[in-house]
């Protein structure tokens, strides 16, 4: 990668250090500007009108009563969309505004701009929409054969994987059906943005999102404008977890700004946020595992149905992942796996941390425990025996060429000391129910469970993914070199802003690194902040842009000294010459002016899956194991997750504190999905669009977390580092389920486990 050798160039916090976040202190002090803080004088306020029905024909829309309200400047509906009527991250199948039908509870029908947010709210209610409700299709199994809900039909995608010997069977066979409910990303910062009409007839949009350029392209298409006239700027993002990959308010805001000629701001309320973004696909899974008596897996059969809701979003990629990872990180000689993503009138589902691998992990890990019991084998030993190794082949036929430390992850998770047994002298807070409930010691049962998972890094199936970075080096204040990094990478809380600084310091030997705010008009796409890809992709782009800067400085040195490049060495802020004491500092080299380099980083090509689901479809993989310890009060059905330990395959920890942060946050979401998080949808209606009724763990609900970072460098990855964001959210939930089963002896097959599932033993209808 480097054009000349680099000795260790670490000034201050370089790669591998737990460097502090540049935005950390402002965020803690309340000084950080989030997208909901955007402000421009004379701006108007936008508000969206949404369908109260999960399925209905729109008979008529009359905006006149709303327009008549003083302070209202515009009301937009489908008729006002100047460009393409639909949008979508994979295929544009979702209407900007519903025109003839609504297909989910909360689908946008109109948007209003007014002088004051309360006027906008009142005006939205005045828009007269006449609906003819239709019985919604809410069962994904029935939707496959039901009348089409959309011109593109009700089957988004069927992924079929066939490998090995179809007639193979095992001496021991276990079968099971499992279900995972609809989880929400529940990010703290509500959807918000500010659109400002520009002098060239285009629009500038400040918005919290995960991928500036892909939003821009969809907005431009729906405005009927070339992309250059739509400029996106990243506003402060309060978390994403996949929930900002799809367009929410972007097109609505730009339409309102262009129509009114004024800046327009929109902030979703919390309940509106639940309607305004996609959720995790609920899943129904059936599995049959075959093994020989020694405990080797012979075959895995699986049928997975993902309820994609009303529109496609990223369902095609999610179901592809679900099928590819359905058998888990184990050697499986034969496989017959069918994954279906289906359209219904339920809320649209799409990307959420783990992206299909989460749901199937609940399935394959429950199966492995069942198989261990049927074999009379220890569940940890069964997994160790079958764990994937480097150069094994996946069910998709891909050979694992990268680091594959599955056994190390399992052993590391298991090696952490178990928490001490509960005693009568424990503080109340540590018992199930914590503050408020004194669970009787005699009632509490402790259980332990292990789960292992894997998932791909990055985009798949031949997608030409890339990230662009530009680095500029110049003499700063008092001659100290200053590096400016320009990347459109969306910082959503994961800490890429920190890593970008670390990489620039490392590669250039410079202490002062600033990140320039990057609009879509300033620099090329960095791709999505998702799929655990940014460290690899944007990190790689910054690294190579820095290499380009170094190359230019070496060129300057070669010219200054009249020597060949091969004679030069780069050393921590200076260029030296072999066999000489000649030395040029960066400050001296930058006398001649700034140096700038750009790099568009592409990873190696991947391939599509063929008709049997075979293909070299993924860039790389991440592995993790989680062990959970829970205390259960069986009479009440109360669960306290006492401890979660993990061994996670990280390649190389470029910032250990940030990796730990990702691990703890991901475990929080895994625990949430295991015991409390679920969007309750009833007849297509969302019943709990609030944090009162959609329960997410608080700090008091969190277990003790102990993590071991397994560092086996990944050959192709910049710095050998793998992505770390998703694995903590994948096998943590299944580990908690396994522990609850262990504590209660109940065959719990559904996540989240509700207290009554334990207390009453059977799931109420």
């Amino acid at each position: 990668m480097a054009s000349a050798s680099t000795t260790t160039a670490r000034r201050g916090s370089g790669v591998g250090e737990s460097a502090g976040r540049p935005d950390g202190v402002p965020k803690v002090r309340g000084e950080f500007a989030f997208s909901s803080d955007l402000w421009m004088d004379e701006m108007l306020w936008g508000k969206t009108l949404r369908s109260p029905h999960a399925s209905a024909r729109i008979v008529s829309i009359d905006a006149r009563p709303a327009l008549a309200l003083p302070g209202v400047h515009a009301v937009m509906t489908a008729a006002d969309v100047t460009g393409r009527a639909t949008y979508g991250v994979e295929v544009p199948d979702q209407p900007v505004f519903a025109s003839d039908v609504v297909r989910f509870h909360g689908e946008p029908v109109a948007a209003v701009a007014a002088d004051h947010p309360e006027v906008a709210r009142a005006a939205a209610r005045l828009v007269e929409v006449v609906y003819e409700p239709v019985e919604p299709v809410v069962d994904p199994e029935l939707a496959v054969t039901a009348a089409p809900l959309h011109p593109s039909g009700n089957l988004f995608r069927h992924v079929r994987i066939r490998r090995g010997d179809p007639s193979a069977t095992g001496d021991v066979v276990v079968e099971g059906s499992y279900e995972v409910g609809m989880q929400d990303q529940a990010f703290m910062g509500p959807e918000s943005g500010l659109a400002v009409p520009a002098e060239d007839g285009g629009v500038d949009l400040y918005v919290a999102t995960q991928w500036l350029h892909v939003d821009r392209d969809q907005i431009a298409a729906s405005l009927g404008m070339p992309p250059e006239r739509v400029r996106l700027y990243l506003a402060g993002v309060g978390g994403a977890f996949g929930g900002r990959e799809d367009v929410s308010l972007q097109i609505h805001l730009c339409l309102l700004a262009l129509r009114t000629g004024r800046p327009v701001k929109m902030v979703y309320s919390r309940d509106e946020s639940f309607f305004g973004h996609v959720h995790r696909h609920p899943a129904r899974m059936w599995y049959r595992h075959h093994a020989n008596r020694a405990g080797d897996l012979v075959k895995v059969e699986a049928r997975i149905v993902l309820d994609g809701g009303a529109y496609l979003s990223s369902s095609n990629a999610v179901v592809s992942n679900a099928a590819a990872f359905a058998a888990g990180p184990y050697r499986v000689p034969s496989a017959a796996i069918d994954g279906y993503a289906v359209r219904t009138n339920n809320p649209p589902c799409g990307a959420m941390r783990g992206f299909g691998a989460v749901q199937v992990c609940f399935g394959h890990e429950a199966q492995m425990d069942k198989l261990a019991a049927a074999l009379g084998m220890d569940p940890v030993d069964l997994r160790l025996r079958n764990a994937l190794e480097q150069f094994d082949t996946l069910v998709t036929g891909q050979v694992l060429t990268g680091a594959t430390p599955v056994r190390e992850c399992i052993r590391a998770a298991m090696a952490h000391p178990l928490p001490p047994d509960p005693t009568p002298r424990d503080p109340m807070m540590s018992r199930p129910g914590g503050a408020g409930l004194t669970a009787d010691d005699g009632d509490v049962r402790r259980g332990t469970g292990l789960a292992v998972s894997f998932k791909n890094i990055g985009y798949s199936e031949g997608f030409d993914d890339y990230a662009t970075a530009r680095v500029r080096l110049e003499a700063g204040v008092a001659g100290e070199p200053l590096a400016t990094v320009l990347v459109a990478t969306a910082e959503v809380g994961q800490g890429f802003v920190t890593l970008a600084q670390q990489i620039a310091r490392e590669e250039l030997g410079v202490a002062d690194v600033v990140l320039a705010p990057a609009a879509t008009s300033d620099v090329g796409s960095a791709g999505s902040s998702s799929a655990s890809r940014q460290t690899w992709m944007s990190g790689g782009a910054v690294q190579l842009a820095c290499a380009g800067v170094r190359r230019q400085l070496l060129d300057r040195s070669a010219v200054r000294w009249g020597c060949a490049l091969e004679a030069l060495r780069w050393e921590d802020g200076a260029v030296t010459r072999l066999g000489s004491v000649d030395r040029l500092t960066l400050a001296e080299l930058l006398d001649a002016g700034a140096v700038e380099a750009e790099h568009e980083y592409h990873h190696r090509p991947t391939k599509a899956l063929d008709a049997d689901g075979q293909g070299d479809a993924h860039l790389s993989f991440m592995y993790a194991a989680h062990r959970a310890v829970v205390d259960v009060d069986p009479g009440l059905g109360l669960v306290r997750v006492v401890q979660v330990t993990t061994g996670q395959d990280v390649g190389r920890a470029l910032n250990p504190v940030q990796v730990t942060g990702q691990i703890e946050g991901g475990i929080a979401q895994g625990v949430g999905l295991a015991v409390m998080e679920e969007i309750v949808v009833d007849g297509g209606q969302v019943r709990n669009p609030s944090f009162t009724d959609y329960l997410i763990p608080t700090t008091l609900d969190m277990p003790d977390v102990a993590a071991t970072l397994i560092e086996v460098p990944e050959p192709d990855a910049p710095y050998g580092a793998k992505g770390v964001g998703e694995p903590p959210a994948i096998s943590s939930g299944p580990a908690v389920l396994a522990a609850i089963r262990d504590a209660t002896g109940l065959d719990l097959r559904r996540a989240p486990v509700r207290p009554e599932d334990i207390a009453l033993g059977v799931r109420p209808a």
């Binding site: 408020g436 409930l437 409390m676």
Partner: protein, 275 residues
């Protein structure tokens, strides 16, 4: 959402508060800690045109012995009630429950008077007062009267107070060591899905949180205990005659189950504590 438009008045005394209410009783509400009323106003389930703020009436913040009773001023904050030595000694059930309400922020703002006057079946303190056989002193334009707790809660968010009356004092008989409070929630610091307050000093009183439209007594349990039943037998009747609510958090069947389990545990704990 934000509340519907309202005017704000601050009362400098109980008499002034009562007078302000009397001007337009159906449209005016008292504001104490605000932690029950303000959320309702933000949902526009309550739309008073005038808020009468009594939160600074220091003379209504007290916990004192009054013969064989403990008298608590209506504006006593939960954190103060929890810490008051008189309450800890003579009304330990109440003191403990005050420490279980919500989270620290709520406990530093919320008042027992506000909680009781709100009449929410999901609140913890009304059940505790019911279990102690307490009473409430209310003051109106015609003077003051005392209402027994069991006559006080009449419907969902409805109490026996007239719209022009203000709750000024909560009175509970001094009680001994036989008490217990069991509160079940799925996530730390949430509202109780079901709660049980039990007092077993001589006779036994058991009150339930979130098992009906009001805070209420588990009458079938009390009758069974009076007839000599064991804790387990009595607890099996916890849901008898009751219609627990069903919602996103729990089915009616599960609430009934919880009530049976929690009543048994509360009775056992209370008996053990009495010694």
């Amino acid at each position: 959402m934000i509340p519907a438009p309202f005017e704000y008045r601050r009362a400098g005394s109980v008499d002034e508060a009562v007078a302000l209410l009397a001007e337009d009783p159906d449209e005016r509400k008292l504001l104490a800690g605000g932690h029950s009323l303000l959320p309702l106003m933000k949902l526009r389930l309550a739309t008073p045109t005038v808020l009468v703020d009594v939160g600074r009436l220091a003379e209504l913040s007290y916990v004192r012995e009054d013969g064989d009773h403990v008298a608590i001023g209506a504006l006593t904050r939960h954190c103060d009630l929890e810490a008051a030595p008189v309450a800890r000694e003579h009304a330990p059930l109440l003191s403990h429950v005050a420490g279980q309400v919500g989270d620290p922020q709520v406990r530093h703002r919320g008042t027992i008077g506000g909680s009781v006057a709100h009449g929410d079946p999901a609140s913890d303190l009304p059940a505790a007062v019911l279990a102690l056989g307490g009473s409430f002193v209310v003051q109106g334009p015609q003077g003051h009267r005392e209402l027994a707790a069991e006559d006080f809660f009449q419907g969902f968010l409805e109490t026996a107070m007239a719209p022009d009356e203000m709750l000024t004092e909560i009175r509970v008989p001094k009680s001994g060591g036989g008490w217990a409070f069991q509160k079940f929630n799925r996530r730390a610091q949430d509202w109780a899905i079901v709660g049980v307050a039990a007092s077993v000093n001589g006779s036994s009183r058991v009150a339930l949180v979130n098992m009906g439209p009001t805070p209420l007594r588990a009458r079938a349990v009390e009758a069974a205990l009076a007839a000599g039943a064991s804790a387990e037998e009595a607890a099996s009747r916890a849901a008898e005659g009751l219609e627990p609510p069903a919602d996103v958090q729990a089915s009616a069947e599960y609430r009934a189950h919880l009530a049976r389990v929690l009543v048994r545990r509360a009775l056992e704990e209370a008996t053990a504590r009495r010694g």
